[in-house]
């Protein structure tokens, strides 16, 4: 596959591993904040290619993992209405809410369908005007423009039975929160696909205000290794900046059209990130003019406040302070088959990835 296979070249990866080994002068900790990076790093065995001095940490980059249990509870409550169809991405089906997951609700007869896009959910609504279709809109800046475009289309076509239960979030506030809480890292492997939309400049505050290295990174093994080399060099030279490794898709200014669509439909809002708490401007809210599509307003449900679980250390793992293996529940009470916390729930979550691809003794 073009633009993919060329960056999976074994010789390039070996060359990068060799160069990294030569240039390492101390210990380094780099954090990635994207579920896609978590998965790729484990899938391609990147840790096995890096010297021990280079540590890769997994931060809060999985949109499923940082979605609060309340959101799932709301989806499940909506699904119990006879005339509502829930349309969601496959990642959500097994996420546990306070009591059950959407998959379990489906098994009990709820009309829950997996879709591959927001426009597929809109098509569902169009095909059956008798049913109310609620699309579970999760994801970061990469995904929000698609939801925005779909709402604009629904408005234009006067579709009356389409709704969105919105939980879109934005990355930079979470990265800032991690730094403010004192995470000891030397730099970020910045999320390449978020950057396609926001532009690499969205991360300028990190070297400017915190003096940390940044590389906006693609998702193939050569991309990740090249980004690690870039970060090591920035640290060694004492010249932190935002470097674009993923130049074939990312520019400094980002996708301005996508940005316009996002701003047309959404505005910033304080939002709860599972494991991190409330982040100022950490989420997106549907604007007044599109509020008739907002399922959270149109279908209010009564969800009891869940009790906090004190043994699960997902919050620490998401902040990069602890490793999955540090958690008392890891691989015993909490496994991919019966996940307890956010990080094990999604296939891209730190604990899930760690369990699947690394040692789990």
């Amino acid at each position: 596959m073009k633009y993919v296979d060329e960056y999976r070249n074994e010789r390039h990866v070996a060359g990068l591993a060799e160069m990294i080994k030569r240039e390492v002068t101390r210990e380094y900790s780099f954090m990635e904040v994207c579920g896609g990076h978590t998965a790729a790093i484990h899938r391609f065995g990147i840790p096995s290619l890096l010297p021990g001095e280079v540590k890769l940490l997994s931060g809060p980059g999985c949109p499923v993992c940082v979605t609060p249990a309340r959101y799932i509870d709301t989806l499940v409550a909506l699904a119990s209405h006879m005339d509502i169809t829930i349309a969601l991405f496959g990642d959500l089906i097994r996420v546990p809410g306070t009591l059950i997951s959407p998959g379990e609700a489906k098994a009990s007869g709820a009309d829950i369908r997996i879709v591959l896009s927001a426009h597929e959910a809109l098509d569902l609504a169009r095909s059956d005007p008798q049913r109310k279709v609620v699309f579970a809109a999760i994801g970061f800046e990469t995904t929000a423009p698609g939801t925005a475009l779909t709402l604009m289309q629904a408005e234009k076509d006067l579709v009356r039975n389409f709704y969105v239960l919105n939980a879109h979030k934005v990355m930079p506030p979470a990265m800032e929160m991690i730094l403010r809480q004192g995470a000891r890292i030397d730099g970020f492997i910045c999320p390449g696909h978020v950057a396609v939309i926001t532009g690499a400049a969205a991360f300028d505050f990190i070297p400017q205000n915190y003096g940390l290295a940044c590389a906006v990174t693609g998702f193939e093994p050569a991309d990740i290794m090249l980004a690690v080399l870039m970060l090591i060099r920035q640290v060694n030279l004492g010249k932190p900046r935002v470097e674009i490794e993923y130049a074939r898709a990312v520019s400094a200014g980002g996708n301005t059209m996508a940005g316009r669509y996002m701003r047309e439909v959404f505005e910033p809002e304080d939002a709860e990130w599972r494991g991190l708490g409330i982040l100022e401007s950490g989420g997106l809210k549907i604007r007044e003019c599109y509020r008739r599509f907002d399922a959270g307003i149109v279908f209010p449900v009564d969800i009891p406040e869940p009790e906090a679980d004190i043994t699960c250390i997902c919050g620490d793992i998401l902040r990069g302070v602890s490793k999955p293996s540090d958690c008392p529940l890891f691989a015993s009470a909490c496994t991919p088959d019966h996940p307890q916390g956010a990080c094990m729930v999604s296939a891209e979550g730190s604990c899930h990835s760690f369990f699947k691809y690394c040692c789990h003794e």
């Binding site: 390039h12 070996a14 994801g139 990469t142 998702f219 074939r248 898709a249 996508a258």
Partner: protein
């Protein structure tokens, strides 16, 4: 799903395009990219094209990777401390 992958444009029809990811055909909304033609590559994410892949930049990255590989085998020119060529 939340993955993004490069896809080849097969057909453009108004606001939508038919794209192929290694042979699997999908429909993508193309409102966020301009001037798409069959044969172009886009980045497909959750049913939308979020960017057009830049061939010149792709080749530049590959050139850099080749250089790094060559320097490891002792025949190249790049060395420690050299600018890795990332665009900032």
């Amino acid at each position: 799903m939340c993955l993004s992958l490069p896809a080849r444009v097969l057909k453009v029809e108004g606001d939508m395009a038919e794209v192929s990811v290694g042979g699997a055909v999908f429909r993508a909304g193309i409102q966020m990219v301009e001037d798409l033609r069959p044969g172009d590559y886009i980045l497909l994410h959750a049913g939308f094209a979020i960017a057009k892949m830049k061939e010149d930049e792709a080749l530049e990255t590959l050139r850099l990777l080749n250089e790094i590989e060559a320097s490891g085998s002792g025949t190249g020119k790049a060395g420690p401390g050299d600018d890795t060529g990332g665009r900032a």
